[in-house]
Amino acid sequence: VADWTIATLGRAIARREVSPLEVTRECLERIARLDAKIRSFITVDAEGALATARELEAELAAGLSRGPLHGVPLAYKDLCHILGLPSSCGTATREYFSAEHECTAVSRLREAGTVTLGKLNMTELALGPFGDNAHHGDVQNPWCPGHVAGGSSSGSAAAVAAGFALGALGSDTGGSIRLPAACCGVVGLKPTYGRVSRAGVMPLSWSLDHLGPLTRTVADAALLLGIIAGHDPRDATSSRRGVPYYERLLDTPVEGLRVGLPENYFFDGLAAEMDAGVRAAARVLEGLGAEIVSLRLPDPRPVVDVSNVIARAESAAVHARIARERPHELQPAVRARLEIGFHITAHDYLQALRLRSRYTRAFVAEVFAETDALLAPVIPEPAPALDAVKAGTVEEVVARMGRFSRLTRPFNGLGLPALSVPCGFSPGGRPLALQVVGRPFDEATVLRLGHAYERATDWVARRPPLL
């Protein structure tokens, strides 16, 4: 299982070289054997997964195939509502998180023939970038146990990196797909706001939340996006724009694409190995024919301020009940971040929403008049030690969280598609990552650049040493 990708497994299943039941059993065996070290799952649904795999196998035997995902085992962040399975959203309780309808993206993947292995660990209430969790265990980085897996979709990234699931869904309000993908050496895509329905996903901040895939390869992310993207009547913010055949566009040469490398903000204060890794990736794309353009971006800090006001106000509204009724159960840093939102005025919240639209129009018009995409780092340093990020006062921990997610948060405020792709390793063996950002709804170009880079390098072939 650890060597399959979704694409290669799907083809092998279609050719009857391997069966959905065999693959599902192998994933479950691997989870049972190794996940006590990683803590990536909160709920493993072995019985349900095996039953689904048997049904899918019977369909194949009857000559029926649901397509390239038929029989592929996936897992979901514990804030995606799945009928019959509990949701804790990373908290100590399941009482607050129920939904009438299943997560639309999960339903679409199920219809496409995937097997659901279970629900994945995450930062409590999705409020934090490190993946530590006092209730379900700190998710360990499969490349370097004792170091953060990134958050908040920590279990999603770790499970894919560890070969427990072929792919996963995560959510991203300030970087929560891209940060763990970067820390764990897997691919993570935050689509354009409105590209993928958020229905059936616990909101944190409905204006900034995005749902997207975490996978081993860019091609796999394109496959999953093609299934989950598109309008959903249950999500009023989901776009009616048509969904391209992303995987068919992947191999279009990147020659001639203008790719911006920011001069300001994104390379400030980076760890040397991260700086070198991202610039080396830019040179690889240049060697493939892309034109690398050095440019000064509109200052992202106002967008981050605006996003902070929106995120704090909305998350306090969403989680008012648990914050009032069970504050003692919430981790101190989570409680502190939630608490701020209760004191933001309606005036400031509304001004922030107005400002967001203005900044987005200005950023897109200025930046994408000159470029087709941007390159940037995802994380300022390779995955730090868990003990180090949890040390100190609550104020110090919260400040550390802000610094670690400073490179991803601008693109939640701007709503732009952003992809995290592995781009090497630090001398100590911790993953490095590249962020590719595109214009609104241009996931195709973002994926194309990521795929071209991935194909030109061999990072994707490496596996965590302890597994």
Binding site: Y193, G194, S238, I344
Partner: protein
């Protein structure tokens, strides 16, 4: 990040915000982006 800092930032940033700027429909803002690549020809 504290509330006073956030409020001060919003006050500063919103000083020249147009009266007609409305907060609704962020997806529409993204959908209405004209493709600059077409403009470049």
């Amino acid at each position: 990040v504290d509330v006073a800092d956030l409020a001060a930032a919003i006050e500063r940033l919103a000083a020249d915000l147009a009266l007609a700027e409305e907060p609704s429909g962020f997806t529409v803002v993204l959908e209405s982006d004209p493709d600059a690549r077409e403009q470049r020809g």
